[in-house]
């Protein structure tokens, strides 16, 4: 494929970046029920439609549950579909979310992450990602506004790939990225079209056509059910390497790539490694640089793909390290530690028995600050030297 021309650089919010990404992919049907902090995604997309930039059919719905059902149905009819939501809206579509993945409908959904119900918090957090862990979707977590736009485009390539056929969530920190305006390069239409063109070369997937009675999701008994679950899990496994491939190809064309499943930063000769996800990674990167300057051999892993879990690549990145620290912006109910920490801990047979430290920080718009990350690195570093350590730390609770 030819290298893309330089796109226009504009200062836009994370929400607008998600809408631009969707617009460039020309969805046939899109819908979204407004919810803070992502309403702007739907507003922007509607504006693009009004300006004639896309001919997407924008369906007005009475709630998020309907939104997910609308896009799933449109996807089953063969359309390219997009939606966006957050927090309460996401959990309100919980049954429909599972329907979409069970139907193997390649829906792409942008999610501005926010704390989930229980305690009313109109504020950022990644608990909604965690609540969607077992829905069978592909979950990508991004770090900045440019990555939001690029990842939405890549998400369509991944979702609609004939070998994958799974819905994809593109997660970005609500409030931190949703409303943060930064310079974002917007790819030219023809370059985005070119990037998505391989999808047209694939065999056509079955679709609902009036007059040709077909049913989806009804063959749900005994071995037929098990067969579908088996295929679903196998497709999720294929998605790991596929994301790496798509990310690499995107990099060759647009000059930007994000590491695929995970991004490793200064990990090669690192003795200790910090694992983060989302917008906090930017802060962590600067702290890693500062600690490196002090002579501490610390590296950073950004977890981009949460489902399917990048077991292989994480194990490769973390193997042979002396200690690791994982920062979660959510809690793991029933384990009293961070959920991402818990999952990385499950890689112990591959990584080896080393100190693993869990940090819970940044809930409900609390900042994951430079001093917080400095503290994490100091403690993980001490643990690596054999000093006693505390397994789980709720950072702001100790301040």
């Amino acid at each position: 494929m030819a290298k893309a021309q330089k796109g226009q650089v504009r200062v836009i919010t994370g929400n607008a970046a998600a809408a631009y990404g969707a617009m460039l992919c020309r969805p046939d049907v899109a819908t979204s029920y407004p919810i803070t902090p992502m309403s702007e995604v739907a507003e922007q997309l509607s504006a693009f439609r009004a300006d004639g930039l896309v001919d997407t059919e924008m369906v007005e719905v009475e709630g998020e549950n309907s939104a997910m059902n609308v896009v799933t149905a449109a996807s089953m009819a063969g359309g390219r579909v997009f939606t966006a939501t957050s927090s309460w809206g996401l959990v309100f579509m919980y049954d429909a979310v599972q329907q979409a993945s069970g139907f193997r409908a390649p829906v792409v959904m942008a999610i501005a992450n926010r704390e989930t119900p229980g305690i009313l918090a109109v504020s950022g957090g990644q608990q909604d990602i965690i609540s969607m862990r077992d829905t069978g979707w592909i979950q990508i977590i991004v770090e900045d506004c440019q990555e939001i736009l690029d990842s939405v485009i890549m998400a369509f390539r991944l979702a609609e790939d004939f070998d994958i056929q799974l819905p994809v969530m593109v997660n970005y920190d609500g409030f931190y990225l949703s409303y943060l305006a930064t310079a974002v390069e917007i790819p030219e239409r023809e370059d985005a079209d070119q990037f998505l063109a391989p999808l047209k070369q694939q065999p056509e997937r079955p679709r609902l056509v009036p007059g040709e009675p077909l049913s989806c999701g009804t063959h749900g008994i005994e071995i037929g059910f098990m067969e579908l679950r088996y295929k679903h899990c196998a497709a999720l496994e294929r998605a790991t390497a596929k994301l790496d491939e798509i990310d690499k190809e995107f990099g060759e064309i647009f000059g930007r790539s994000y590491g695929g499943q995970i991004e490793e930063y200064r990990t090669e000769d690192a003795e200790i490694v910090l694992v983060t996800s989302g917008s906090a990674t930017g802060t962590a990167r600067t702290v890693v640089d500062a600690k490196r300057a002090e002579g501490i051999k610390v590296g950073l892993v950004k977890l981009r793909l949460f489902r399917p879990f990048p077991r292989k690549r994480l194990a490769e990145a973390l193997k042979g390290k002396k200690a690791i620290g994982v920062i979660d912006r959510s809690v793991g109910f029933g384990w009293n530690c961070g959920p991402m920490y818990m999952e990385i801990r499950a890689l112990t047979p591959e990584i080896g028995i080393i100190p693993m430290l869990s940090y819970i920080d940044g809930l409900a718009n609390l900042d994951i600050t430079i001093p917080h990350i400095e503290r994490v690195i100091d403690e993980v570093s001490a643990a690596a030297q054999g000093k006693p350590y505390q397994e789980v730390t709720w950072i702001p609770m100790e301040e």
Binding site: R205, P213, S215, L228
Partner: protein
């Protein structure tokens, strides 16, 4: 792991049609009332066939016939028929039921 199971469904997702997959359960045995269609009044609009959950309205060219092996007796066809051509008759009134 060696998979010995031969896939029933040819597609990745749970697609099934009237030839395989969908009409494989003995849903006809669930029925307490069966749709009876007056083919003189039927204008072949096809709404009953579109709405039928197990897709068991057989297209006969200028009217529809119910496949009683699969009809659950839900009555959607009778409800949706714009000409009220379909009536739901209790199974007890038939000797073959």
């Amino acid at each position: 792991m060696v998979i010995k199971h031969k896939f029933i469904l040819k597609t990745e997702n749970a697609w099934s049609d009237a030839n395989e997959g969908l009409l494989c359960m003995d849903t006809g045995s669930w029925r307490t009332a069966r749709p009876v269609l007056d083919k003189e009044k039927c204008n072949y609009c096809g709404l009953c066939a579109l709405y039928c959950p197990p897709q068991c309205m057989k297209d006969m060219g200028d009217y529809y016939e119910v496949d009683l092996a699969y009809c659950k007796g839900c009555g959607v066809c009778a409800k949706e028929c714009p000409r009220d051509v379909i009536s739901m008759v209790p199974e007890g009134e038939f000797t073959d039921g």
